[in-house]
C-alpha cells in the first residue's frame, strides 16, 4: 500500500478559507503529504481548516504535521482551525495539550473558538 492510499487529502476552497479534509492515517509515513498538500492548496486565504472528521488515526508524527501547519499559518498571518475528528484523534490532541492551542470549527460553520 503506498502512502497515498494511507492518507487521502481533499481540498476545498471557500470564500475566505481553504479546507483540507483528511481521511485515513496521519503518521510517520504520511505526515509529509500533509505539508505538501497545504503548501499546494494555500492561496493566501484568511483561514486554513484541517477537517479531521474522516481521519482514522494520528500519532505523534502526525501531530507534529498538524502543529507545523499551525506554525506555517502563523508565519503567513493566516488563521488556523481544525474540525474535530474521531475519539482517538481527539484523545491525542487532548492528552498532548495541543487541543487548547487549536481553534475548532464545526463542519461548514463559522469559526467558533
Amino acid at each position: 500500500m503506498g502512502v497515498q492510499d494511507q492518507l487521502r487529502i481533499d481540498v476545498r476552497h471557500e470564500a475566505d478559507r481553504v479546507v483540507l479534509s483528511l481521511a485515513g492515517e496521519l503518521d510517520l509515513a504520511t505526515a509529509e503529504l500533509l505539508e505538501q498538500a497545504i503548501d499546494a492548496a494555500e492561496n493566501g486565504e484568511q483561514l486554513v481548516v484541517l477537517d479531521l472528521q474522516a481521519l482514522e488515526f494520528i500519532d505523534s508524527t502526525g501531530l507534529r504535521g498538524v502543529l507545523a501547519a499551525l506554525e506555517g499559518c502563523r508565519e503567513r498571518g493566516q488563521e488556523f482551525a481544525i474540525t474535530p475528528g474521531s475519539p482517538q484523534v481527539q484523545r491525542l490532541l487532548s492528552v498532548t495539550g495541543v487541543s487548547g492551542h487549536l481553534r475548532t470549527i464545526a463542519s461548514g460553520d463559522e469559526v467558533v473558538a
Partner: protein, 737 residues
C-alpha cells in the same frame, strides 16, 4: 478410338510397338516427334508432318519426314514463308480447331487450292502431287495439342478409314508423350522453385523416407545438426545423426529415435510438435528445437512416402525464458531470509543441476579473507572433493587467477577447454592437482558477487559430468545471478549491521539497569515496533532525586531514526542534568522545553511524564507531572483502574506550555503504570480507546512479579495489534513491596 477399327495387320502392330519404344525415351520433344514422324515414312506415308498449337494460338510444325529427301526441307521452308492460318480451311487448322480427324482420300487440284495459304503454296502441293491425306488430332486429357498429318504422293494408294484410325492411335500416343513431357517440365520447374525455397529457408528441413533415411536436407539443417553440407546428412545412415546428440525432452528425460514425430508418423500416430533439448555430445553445446513433422502421402496407396521434418531453433527464446524463471526463483530464495549464508546455500542448490554440476559461493569476510559460504553438487560423495579443496587450498585474495582475480577485477570469466597442462600450472602441488583433476571440469564460469558498493565475493559454476557444458551463452545469466545475490548479501549484511547499531543506540538511550529503590518494586520494558528495528523515540529513566526521593521519567519523542535518537538523548540528559540541579519537575520540563525550542529544526516535539516518589513507612508519596503525555494508570489490587494526572502541553513547539502536577498516595497492592502512546495505539480496531481496554485486569495475573505483569501487558498489546505494532512501547511500573 476403339481396337476394332484398327487395321489388323502386322504394320499397325509394328508401328505402335516402335512408337511406344520411341515415346518412352525421355528425349526432348522435338527429337521425339521427329522420330515418330520418321516411323511412318515410308511404310505408312510418303510425307509426315507434326504440327503443334503454340501458346500464342499459332500453328507450328515440329517434325517433318519424307521419303523424298528434298521434300522435307522444301516443305519446312514453305511453312516458314506461309504459316498456317489457325482459323483457315487447311485440314491441319480444321482438325486442331475441331479436335476431330479428317480423311482426305483424293485431293484434287481444286481441293488443294481451296485450303492453300496462297497460290505458291497451292502450286507447291500440286507440283509435289499431294494425293491423299489422313490428319489426326494430337489429343491428351481433353485438349488438342496439335495434329499429325500423313500424306501419300503421286500414285500411292488413297488412305482408308483404317489408316486414319492408325494415325489417330499414333497421334494419341504422341500427344500423351508431349503432355507428359510438358507436365514433367512444369513439375520440374515447380520442383526447382520448391527446392530453391527449401534450400534457402532459414528453418532447418529434412525429408526422410520410411527407413529413416534422410533423402533431402537444406543447409540450415546441416548447420543445426552439426555437419558441413546437406550431402553429409543424406549419406549418413538412419539414426547415425541422432546418435551425435543427447536428446532430452523439456523435463530432461532422454528421448530415443522412436519418439521423434517423424518416426511416430510412420508408425501411424499423429504426433504434436515436439520440444527437444539437443546437446551435441562432442562439444556440450545445447540447443532447444521444436520438431514438426508432416507426412507426404502417396495419393494412390494412401501410404506415407516421406516425412518432412521442420526444426525450429528456439534456443535463444527458451534460454531467455529459463533464465527469467531461474532468476525469479533465485530472487525468491534470496529474499526468503536475512541470513545470507543460508540463502546462498539455497542458491547453490538451485543452480545445480539447472545451470551447472557444481556451484560454490565465496565471500570476502570481515578480516579480508575468502570464505566459502556455500557449495553444492548433486552427489554428496563428490561434494567432499570441493570441501577438501577448500580446506587445503583455499586461494589467497592476491592470487592471479580464479576467484581472487574475479573479485579484484569485478569481471566475469569463463574457462572452456581446460587443458591438463593449465591445471598442472595452476596447482600448488601434486595433491592439489589430483583434487582439481578429480573435479573433471569441462568448463568453469566465475562471476562477481556484485553489490552496489563493489565486489564482495564470487559465484563459481562448473560443468563436469553432464554432457551439456557451460558456454559463453550462460555468462549473462550467471552475471545477473551474481549481481542479484551480491545485492542480497549486501542488504543482509547492512540489515545485520543496522540491527546491531539500533540495539546499541537503544541501549544508550535507556538505562542499562534500574536502580534499587528500598521498599519499592520497579520494572521496565521496551518493545521496538517494526521489522527494521528503527530506533524509536521512546525513553524512560529512574534516578535518585533530592536525597530520599526518586524520579521516574518516561517520554516519547516524535519520529524515528537517527534524528529522533538525537532528540531522545537530548531529552534524557537534559532531564538528568535538571534533576541534579534540584529543579522541581515542572521546572525540569520547562528546561527541556527551552532546550527543544533552541533546536535548529524548531519542530522537535516531546511528551514527558515525571513521577517523584518518596517512600514513607506505610505508603509512598507521589507527584505526577505531565507535559502532553498520556496519564499513568493506577491499578488497584482488585483490578480497578484510573488515570492519574491532568494533561499538560507537549514540549518543544507551543508557547506557553502548561504543566500540571497531581499528588498521589500509593498504597500497598496498588500498581502505577507509566507507558508511551504505543500501548493505546496498539489497538488495530482503533475506535475504543478507554484505557481499561489496553490493560485488561481480567487478563492480568496481579499476583505475579512486576516484570511478568509488564510482559503480560506487552503480549496483550501485541495480540490487539495483530502482531504489528504501530509504534514502540515503553512501560515503567512501580509498586510497594
Amino acid at each position: 478410338m476403339s481396337e476394332q477399327t484398327l487395321p489388323q495387320n502386322d504394320l499397325a502392330v509394328e508401328l505402335l510397338v516402335e512408337a511406344g519404344a520411341v515415346l518412352a525415351t525421355s528425349l526432348d520433344l522435338a527429337t521425339t516427334m521427329n522420330q515418330v514422324a520418321h516411323l511412318t515414312v515410308p511404310r505408312l506415308a510418303d510425307l509426315c508432318v507434326i504440327d503443334l498449337l503454340a501458346e500464342d494460338g499459332s500453328i507450328r510444325e515440329v517434325a517433318v519426314a519424307s521419303s523424298d529427301p528434298e521434300l522435307a526441307p522444301a516443305l519446312e521452308a514453305m511453312r516458314r514463308e506461309y504459316p498456317l492460318d489457325p482459323h483457315g480451311e487447311h485440314p491441319v487448322a480444321r482438325v486442331i480447331a475441331s479436335g476431330e480427324p479428317e480423311l482426305l482420300e483424293e485431293m484434287t487440284s481444286m481441293l488443294l487450292r481451296s485450303f492453300a495459304q496462297g497460290s505458291e503454296h497451292a502450286r507447291f502441293m500440286i507440283e509435289h502431287r499431294y494425293r491423299s491425306a489422313a490428319v489426326a488430332p494430337l489429343r491428351a486429357h481433353g485438349r488438342t495439342l496439335g495434329a499429325l498429318s500423313l500424306l501419300r504422293i503421286g500414285d500411292g494408294e488413297p488412305y482408308t478409314s483404317g489408316d486414319l484410325s492408325l494415325a489417330c492411335e499414333l497421334a494419341g500416343r504422341a500427344a500423351m508423350a508431349i503432355d507428359n513431357a510438358r507436365l514433367f517440365s512444369a513439375l520440374r520447374r515447380v520442383e526447382q522453385r520448391l527446392e530453391a525455397v527449401l534450400v534457402n529457408l532459414a528453418e532447418a528441413i529434412t525429408l526422410i523416407d520410411a527407413r529413416g533415411q534422410t533423402i533431402f536436407a537444406n543447409q540450415a539443417a546441416a548447420d543445426l545438426l552439426g555437419v558441413s553440407t546437406p550431402a553429409e546428412l543424406v549419406s549418413a545412415g538412419p539414426g547415425t545423426i541422432m546418435s551425435r546428440f543427447l536428446v532430452l525432452d523439456e523435463h530432461g528425460r532422454e528421448l530415443d529415435l522412436e519418439s521423434m514425430p517423424g518416426r511416430r508418423l510412420f508408425a501411424g500416430e499423429h504426433p504434436e510438435p515436439l520440444l527437444v533439448r539437443n546437446i551435441v555430445r562432442a562439444s556440450g553445446e545445447e540447443r532447444w528445437l521444436i520438431v514438426r513433422s508432416s507426412p507426404i502421402i502417396d495419393p494412390e496407396s494412401a501410404q506415407i512416402l516421406y516425412v518432412v521434418n521442420v526444426f525450429e531453433n528456439i534456443t535463444e527464446v527458451k534460454r531467455a525464458q529459463l533464465a527469467e524463471s531461474f532468476m525469479a526463483e533465485a530472487s525468491r530464495v534470496l529474499a526468503s531470509s536475512m541470513d545470507y549464508a543460508e540463502t546462498l546455500q539455497l542458491l547453490a542448490r538451485l543452480a545445480v543441476p539447472q545451470l551447472a554440476d557444481w556451484c560454490a559461493v565465496d565471500v570476502v569476510d570481515e578480516s579480508g579473507e575468502l570464505e566459502r559460504v556455500a557449495v553444492h553438487h548433486s552427489d554428496p560423495s563428490r561434494l567432499e572433493l570441493a570441501e577438501a579443496l577448500d580446506r587445503g587450498y583455499r586461494p589467497a585474495l592476491d592470487e592471479p587467477l580464479g576467484v581472487p582475480e574475479v573479485i579484484r577485477s569485478g569481471k566475469a570469466r569463463i574457462y572452456t577447454d581446460i587443458e591438463p597442462q593449465a591445471l598442472a600450472e595452476y596447482a600448488r602441488d601434486d595433491a592439489h592437482l589430483a583434487l582439481l583433476s578429480a573435479i573433471e571440469a569441462t568448463a568453469v564460469i566465475i562471476v562477481p558477487l556484485a553489490a552496489p558498493g563493489g565486489t564482495i565475493g564470487a559465484i563459481t559454476l562448473v560443468s563436469s559430468e553432464s554432457v551439456r557444458r557451460l558456454s559463453p551463452a550462460d555468462l549473462a545469466l550467471a552475471e545477473r545471478l551474481g549481481r542479484r545475490a551480491g545485492t542480497a548479501v549486501e542488504s543482509a549484511r547492512l540489515y545485520t549491521e543496522r540491527t546491531k547499531i539500533a540495539r546499541m543506540l537503544e541501549a544508550a538511550l535507556l538505562p542499562e539497569s534500574l536502580p534499587e529503590i528500598p521498599g519499592v518494586e520497579i520494572a521496565a520494558l521496551y518493545r521496538a515496533a517494526g521489522e527494521l528495528n528503527d530506533v524509536g523515540g521512546d525513553f524512560y529513566d529512574v534516578l535518585s532525586y533530592d536525597g530520599d526521593s526518586w524520579l521516574l521519567a518516561i517520554g516519547d519523542v516524535c519520529g524515528k531514526g537517527a534524528r529522533a535518537a538525537g532528540v531522545t538523548a537530548l531529552a534524557r540528559h537534559t532531564l538528568r542534568a535538571a534533576a541534579m540541579l534540584g529543579q522541581t519537575p515542572a521546572a525540569m520540563l520547562g528546561t527541556l522545553h527551552a532546550a527543544l525550542r533552541r533546536q535548529p529544526s524548531g519542530s522537535d516535539l516531546c511528551t514527558v511524564c515525571l513521577v517523584t516518589l518518596e517512600r514513607l513507612p506505610a505508603n509512598a508519596r507521589l507527584t505526577v507531572t505531565l507535559a502532553g503525555h498520556p496519564p499513568p494508570l493506577l491499578i488497584d489490587a482488585d483490578g480497578s483502574q484510573r488515570l492519574i494526572g491532568k494533561p499538560g502541553t507537549l514540549l518543544g513547539v507551543l508557547d506557553p506550555i502548561e504543566i500540571s502536577e497531581v499528588d498521589l498516595e500509593l498504597r500497598e497492592g496498588q500498581t502505577l503504570l507509566l507507558y508511551t502512546d504505543g500501548l493505546p495505539e496498539a489497538d488495530r480496531a482503533g475506535g475504543q480507546l478507554d484505557e481499561q481496554t489496553f490493560v485488561d485486569p481480567r487478563r492480568l495475573a496481579l499476583g505475579s512479579t512486576l516484570g511478568e505483569l509488564l510482559t503480560q501487558i506487552e503480549q496483550a498489546a501485541l495480540v490487539r495489534a495483530e502482531g504489528r505494532l504501530r509504534d514502540d512501547i515503553a512501560l515503567l511500573a512501580l509498586r510497594l513491596r
